[in-house]
Symmetry: C2
Subunit: 481 residues, 2 copies
């Protein structure tokens, strides 16, 4: 007998990944129908993919400086026509200089780089981290990756030694974590985020999950934090970051800080785990924080850069055992290297034009335009949710998402059950069918028992689609009241 669902890797079968699940597939079918003009029966004329943080699929334009440099990296022969670039195509001299510098560092972007990335790019990332955190960073501890997802995959592959290994994962969470743990047959130790404290971390809850897991014989090795939050949109206050590190230090846990939304912050400011780790180390000259292990991840996919199709990212390790680092090196070597053009994009993200550089003005204008646009869209969507019956939603803090609670009538829950769906799945499916708007039900991320949510990006332009959600919601509530 050949391969069947019953004899293949059951860990893969067990993995769940709702972000690109049934709803997403159905929305793509609608999109295909619409593009073929074969959609007379559909009550909408466009599909809005609010299920994935995919800025450039919607309205976000790439940043000119970045794409100009990339075009030169792809075709270095253009550098032989500097006058044409400058005079006829509007390329600034700093674009040309940067391209030359990156080409010198990487050789051809068509060549494999060293397994962990182009050395000069790792140095530039280290300089960025030093500017960001006020503490030096070591380029040799930086690993370029194909987006942050690939970095998470590497770290979990190395950390997870079998079903007894437990990883503390926030609930709700981005399902990359639970899916990867399922594939690795390791144990997810869920801890609930505190919806009543703006989806912050609650040390009591974390400790309770940790203690229960230990009591069940699980060897808890790491804690995952997503800050700013996905799907929650939370931006953690400094004291939450500190408390998590203190707890991790006490229990010898690796901290995996998923900080891909670090520039998508609308309230307060971003507090990096790396900076807080160094502060704690300063505060404890006895060395009691010196062996705390932190892996922090970043990506070109989000923020104002929004270049997810390029699959660029990196992670930085602090406090890891050199023998463990050697295994991480070997693991990434097997896949050879991260895409080199994506590596260059990381460099452009962490080292943008500065005041006085010829490209600065346009860069700043584009960057701020994207940032303000996201903030305005988040506010508009939030206002709409505020007016919807039974919907509760925190003020937008960060990332690209809102994650409202929806209180649905009992009749809706019954109708969902009859269809073999959870009530939030049922709601999101009806929303898609009625409006063409694709969001992800809270059950795809995990949620506290007896609560329902959905996650929507606020990337789509205009206000019309927000109006359709409001209208749909009212009709849905009326129908199932």
């Amino acid at each position: 007998m050949g391969l069947t669902i019953d004899n293949i890797n059951q860990n893969v079968v067990a993995a769940k990944y709702a972000v690109r699940g049934e709803l997403a597939v159905k929305s793509e079918e609608y999109r295909a129908k619409l593009s073929k003009g074969d959609a007379k029966d559909l009550p909408f004329d466009q599909v809005i993919s609010a299920n994935i943080g995919n800025p450039q699929q919607l309205d976000q334009k790439p940043i000119t400086f970045i794409r100009q440099v990339l075009s030169l990296l792809e075709n270095p022969l253009l550098l032989e026509k500097e006058d044409v670039l400058v005079q006829s195509l509007g390329y600034q001299t700093d674009v040309i200089e940067r391209a030359r510098k990156l080409l010198k560092a990487a050789g051809s972007v068509g060549a494999y780089s060293a397994s962990t990335g182009v050395p000069a790019i790792k140095e530039s990332i280290a300089e960025f981290l030093e500017r960001r955190d006020g503490f030096p960073a070591d380029p040799s501890k930086i690993y370029l990756s194909a987006g942050a997802s690939s970095g998470v995959n590497t770290l979990l592959n190395v950390i997870c030694a079998g079903p007894k290994t437990g990883i503390l994962v926030p609930i709700p969470q981005y399902p990359l974590y639970t899916a990867t743990l399922a594939v690795l047959n390791a144990t997810c130790v869920p801890y609930l985020l505190d919806e009543h404290r703006h989806w912050g971390t609650n040390l009591e809850t974390i400790r309770k999950s940790y203690d229960e897991a230990k009591a069940n014989g699980t060897d808890v090795r790491a804690i995952v934090i997503i800050n700013p939050g996905n799907p929650t949109g939370a931006s953690l206050p400094e004291e939450d970051v500190r408390a998590v590190l203190e707890f991790a230090n006490k229990e010898n846990l690796v901290v995996m800080a998923d900080e891909v939304y670090q520039t998508n912050v609308f309230l307060g400011e971003f507090h990096s785990f790396k900076r807080m780790l160094r502060l704690l180390q300063q505060e404890h000259p006895d060395g009691s924080y010196d062996s705390l292990q932190l892996a922090s991840l970043h990506s070109v996919s989000k923020g104002m850069v929004g270049e997810c199709g390029h699959r660029g990212g990196y992670f930085e390790l602090c406090g890891f055992d050199p023998e463990v680092e050697a295994q991480i090196y070997k693991f990434v070597s097997i896949m050879l290297c991260a895409p080199v053009i994506g590596q260059c994009l990381v460099e452009l993200m962490v080292n943008p034009p500065r005041k006085g550089d010829p490209s600065y003005e346009l860069y700043e204008k584009e960057y701020n335009g994207i940032y303000n646009g996201l903030r305005q869209r988040a506010a508009a969507l939030h206002n709409a949710f505020d007016e919807m019956e039974g919907v509760e939603c925190d003020e937008p803090q960060g990332s690209m998402y809102l994650f409202p609670t929806i209180n649905l009538p009992a009749k809706a829950a019954e109708a969902a059950k009859a269809e073999g769906r959870t009530a939030d799945e049922f709601y999101c499916m009806r929303l898609l069918e009625a409006t063409g708007i694709c969001v992800v039900p809270g059950s795809g991320f995990g949620q506290k028992e007896n609560t329902l949510h959905f996650r929507t990006t606020f990337l789509a332009p205009g206000t019309e689609w927000v109006g359709s959600i409001v209208k749909f919601h009212k009709e849905f509530m009326d129908k199932y009241r």
Copy 2:
């Protein structure tokens, strides 16, 4: 206690990947020393990385047509200045048309694509397969991947259900296979290639390995074939391809055909597994070959394209159960999508300019120039090996490698043992130290007991480095005679 080599994933610890192992690391240290001018003590003035098939790190120039299109995909604003592109930068009109077409298909290359790839690119690959094989291909069975390595990783993750799952792997092999099987804790069932038949497959040997594994309780699920061969450089004759498929059909094995070197063929021609599968299905109208499962992989990394830094590739499935395909879909979804610029590069590789297109002449000239250069270098290296004492090497057939047998004196074996190395590792380390040339010992790929080999690419330009190998070898033999 935090993470240590003893408590992390022991499957990762067990994995071996020599291509970027100790020798490669040491060669990079030499390179760094040389670039800092700090190498008075080194007996060479450059490092030659003949350990990795990395064409553009050495002499191979990117193909102009490909890079021109990519530059426009990265900066679509250039398309607004078509006159400048054509008149001042020498871009042909087909370059511009192709860029527009790909942009229409992918949207922005900075956006995630569908999980399995941009639909229009999958259609173009299907058309290529039809032209290549003379049989139609189904775009929905094509999965874009980040290089072929990522495709292999996906397939093995889905197929391998635990330690009892066995995968037939050729020896010698590209260590991606054994390393991934180690990480997945599945069983590698090695079968020896036949050095005396130009490293072809030998059905008797395969059957013997298969029977032994079955007798030991291993559930053998798949057979890996690398054609043209890595590290062997073999190009399989049609009858070998047929025999493997007949065997796999009889035993219900998935055939994983790693065909990344399909254009690197110097003797005879490339015979694709897909075409032979369709021929066998035609020959057997009783349907006895209809459920044979084939996954064939290709990549932009090798061939005359040589764009490995872009991490582009794809695999095509034939005969897979739809439920299993759904799991493959989910697995690739977790990592979101292959790099979109790499996907576009796949399209450019499989659909190059044709006779009559404005870019055709230059494309053809560059393509043939690279092909002939590789063939000449292979021949020069082969001639050198022919004259070296105790070295035996087949005529170059395909891929980017020669894999000579080396017969070393007993004294060399003793000296190696004293250093805790195998004799081939010892030889390769001395070669690196003496000449700056980095090759990979045969033990990194597996080799028949009591034989020694090394793998070298023939990508490096010039003949000087070949001369250094000859000189080193003579001195080595004299020293240990």
